[in-house]
């Protein structure tokens, strides 16, 4: 399912290997502690989930994107982050809820220094700028984002919760950026909401075909396409029947 016009996997492997390593070294020398924590977090996540990223609808090339995933667990966050090759990870910022991540010095350190997250207030009563404006500002600054359009973790038996409108407003402000669907399986079982110790079940993560807001597309139609893109990525990742 290679998208026409996007560079393929081989392009990535041959052209970006050296710069990626150099980038890694220079970044490490510049910020040794956050880089070490980031490295450990990435390794730990890959080890405990056993997940290998599958790029089904696009290639892992360092272009600006908005990754949107299904949300079952805090580990979703870490898994998308850990699954991105380092050059992509450097330009990608997860969008995180202030109520959870601003509580406690360790969480604050991880979200600001290690993950370089875009921290937003989840409800408008907390004051400050519109969450969508903060996200759009990060995109304008050249960063990729990780978002969860369901808005909160899905603890029901449904595959997906209804999509919140935030992703539509973000797409309106950044119509030139690809939105890439990310489907993760089993993470809700690996670390359910409210639990601390993860169980090492095998997880999977798949990146689907990118989409953009069409000119004149209304909110309902766009959110339906967002949802369909997530489910299509899930379907593409299912093992073939034998």
């Amino acid at each position: 399912m290679q998208q026409a016009g996007t560079p393929g996997g081989n392009y990535y492997k041959t052209r970006h290997r050296m710069p990626e390593r150099m980038l890694h070294t220079t970044e490490f020398l510049r910020r040794p502690v956050p880089e070490t924590v980031s490295w450990a977090l990435t390794r730990f996540t890959r080890l405990i989930t056993g997940a290998q990223a599958r790029w089904l609808g696009c290639a892992p090339v360092p272009v600006q994107r908005i990754y949107f995933g299904n949300h079952n667990s805090h580990a979703d966050f870490a898994l998308i982050w850990a699954s991105l090759p380092v050059a992509l990870r450097r330009m990608t910022r997860p969008v995180a809820g202030a109520d959870y991540w601003e509580a406690g010095a360790l969480k604050r350190y991880i979200i600001h220094e290690v993950l370089r997250g875009v921290v937003i207030a989840r409800s408008r009563e907390e004051g400050g700028a519109e969450p969508v404006d903060i996200m759009a500002a990060a995109v304008r600054a050249g960063d990729s984002l990780i978002i969860f359009p369901e808005g909160t973790r899905n603890t029901t038996d449904e595959l997906l919760l209804p999509m919140k409108s935030g992703v539509y407003h973000l797409a309106q402000q950044c119509p030139q950026v690809d939105l890439v669907p990310v489907w993760m399986d089993n993470l809700g079982r690996l670390l359910p909401k409210g639990e601390i110790v993860p169980v090492p079940l095998l997880c999977s993560i798949s990146f689907g075909a990118p989409l953009r807001l069409q000119p004149g597309e209304d909110k309902e139609a766009f959110l339906a396409r967002i949802r369909a893109a997530l489910l299509a990525t899930r379907a593409a990742a299912q093992p073939e029947e034998t």
Partner: protein
């Protein structure tokens, strides 16, 4: 024959055998299907590849001694348990039971094997884990599919931890006149069961006509069954010198082990069918799971252990 000479002889024999089957597999791939993808031959070559890895790992563990063997099989159990529970129908309410299964039950079972506390390791999972893990799930007050969920967790622990742990437990059996050579009991079991597996596969490929349980596994045939068992029994008789058995006894023990191994493969295939997956995972080289490779050993190990414990050990 000393321990060292015996080990060398087995290692040389196994490696020669592996070279031979690897050559055979490569020949099949080139001559029979001209290098094109072919499910049965590719599966055979995957198994051969896995055996190379398996052989070197086992040799390394044996060189590291008793601790090495216990740690190796604890790792095998961990990987197999992970694969099994990945496709199990557990829910949020089972989380603490799963945490206990991975991080308490499994290590403790292998600790018990390590310190050779037979009275405890033979009942710890069947009795204590069996009673306590459902309590953890029930407290969460989620009753949907409760019976299926608790049954599956217990089954996972029994097959991947309890049964597999009987392989390193063989090291603790005390058999008169067989001092310090228990490690050969492990080598014998693995060789017999694995060659039963592969001969079954080859016989099914070349003269398989009548399927035993087509709904479960189209690759299991009566012809393969007979060929695999005959070959494993013959190999068992040939290798009886490394065991405390006479040639006749070796034939009977091999028969029991390989029969259990065959049906183990059948039962675990039925489980995979039920969950709609082809392989247990992708842990082992070649795209299949650890559990695909050790299914037969899981079923054979406890029976083999208890036969030896009852009739040979003191």
């Amino acid at each position: 024959m000393t321990h060292f000479q015996g080990t060398l002889l087995i290692a040389a024999g196994v490696i020669l055998l592996l070279v031979a089957v690897s050559a055979f597999g490569a020949w099949l791939k080139l001559a029979a299907v001209d290098g094109h993808p072919h499910p049965l031959i590719d599966n055979l070559n995957q198994r051969i590849q896995a055996w190379w890895v398996m052989t070197f790992t086992i040799v390394l563990a044996l060189l590291a001694g008793r601790i090495g063997v216990v740690v190796l099989f604890a790792f095998v159990s961990f990987t197999a348990l992970r694969e099994f529970l990945t496709i199990a129908p557990t829910r949020r309410g089972d989380h603490q039971a799963l945490v206990m299964a991975f991080f308490v039950v499994l290590p403790f079972q292998y600790f018990l094997i390590g310190v050779d506390w037979y009275d405890m390791y033979s009942v710890f999972i069947p009795a204590y884990a069996f009673l306590f893990l459902p309590i953890l799930s029930a407290i969460k007050s989620d009753t949907r599919n409760f019976m299926e969920r608790t049954g599956t967790i217990q089954w996972a622990l029994m097959i991947t931890v309890f049964c597999i742990s009987h392989v390193p437990a063989l090291l603790s059996l005390r058999i008169p006149g067989y001092d310090d050579r228990n490690v050969f009991l492990i080598v014998f079991l693995v060789l017999i069961v694995q060659s039963g597996d592969i001969l079954h596969h080859v016989c099914s490929r070349y003269c398989g006509r009548r399927q035993i349980a087509p709904q479960v596994s189209p690759n299991k045939t009566v012809e393969g069954f007979i060929g695999g068992i005959a070959a494993a029994v013959a190999l068992g008789m040939l290798l009886s010198w490394m065991t405390p058995f006479t040639v006749g006894e070796a034939a009977l023990v091999s028969l029991a082990a390989t029969l259990m191994g065959f049906f183990g493969g059948l039962v675990l295939s039925a489980m995979k069918r039920d969950r709609g997956v082809k392989d247990w995972g992708t842990t082992v080289e070649g795209g299949s799971g650890m559990l695909d490779r050790v299914a037969s050993v899981c079923f054979a190990a406890p029976v083999y252990f208890h036969i030896i414990r009852h009739w040979w050990s003191v």
